[in-house]
Amino acid sequence: MIESILLVDDEDLFHLVFEDACSLLDITLSLQSISSADEAAKLFKKWFEHGPLEERPECVFVDLNIIGSSFDGIELIRKINFEYGNHVVIGIISSSNEATEQAKAVAAGAQFWIIKSDDIEPRLEDFKKDYDGYRNKTNPFKVYK
């Protein structure tokens, strides 16, 4: 089970879906959902500069296009990986399946890409099975379709 997850997504309804799916699949007991990439960046900056590092989530799911934010999900991943310490498992969760965007995400340090749909649970279940590989940095980038 993942110790703690942070979801960054502007869609509030998806927060509920993700929370219930994670609970039903026993993916995590600790889930925090926020709607803004700016807010997420501030949190990571705070954890990186002032701590405590224990508050930092173990895994981060980032939406690709976060409406109302100054930058998109790929830029947030880049900031977390290259500016704020790179100590989390991080990837994209989006309805998009564009190869160019996925290539950008890989360049920014994303480890996975989960495609949102009505049936999200099987993908999260597969992700849960692969999770140890992401934590150990042994799994290659994977798209969950």
Binding site: L16, V17, S23, L24, L29, D118
Partner: protein
Amino acid sequence: MKIKIGDDTKKELIRLAETKSISLEGNILKVIDADGDEEFDAYLKDSIEKDTTKRKKRLEITKQIQKQNNELLEGKDKIETINSQLKAALEEAEESRKEALAAKEQAENSMIDAHHAREEAEKAKTEAINAKDIAESDLDFMQKKTQFELIGTIVKVALWVILGVGVITTAVFVIALFSGKDTTIVGSTWSNIVGILLTNAFSIIGTIMGVKYASEKKH
């Protein structure tokens, strides 16, 4: 990480579930340790089952709402697209209207210019006709003047010829009278010639007077 709770709390939780159907919910259930208490373990399992059922139900409802929301958003996007297309079409129509008005104004200006040009052309035409009339009049005058001058010259020459003939005939008649020769033929000839000459002279003088009068009037 598991947490243990006291027996009194366990009993109170079980009592609440039995009497008021109030159970613990959420992930907290997964971290509570029954600690060998079978009754509380059954309570935890029952609560987890109820929570799972509720979550499944809520997840399905949330998904349906999410789906409807997405459809509404798509509809909104389509409406916005149609609105923007309508707006663009209206702007285009307005632009065309402005262009048409500008073209109409330009046409009206051109018409006014054409009207002015026509007026100027008519004015120029009138001036040209006047100039032509003046030129024709001058030409006519010059022609007449030349004709009158020619006639005057002819008349003067004719007068001098008549005078010359008169003088010569008179001289011949005088010589014949003083030399004592027969003057019958010469005399009748002289009288005839003088008669003719006088008639013609008056005729010529009349013509000269006429020409002079006409010339003065023309001037």
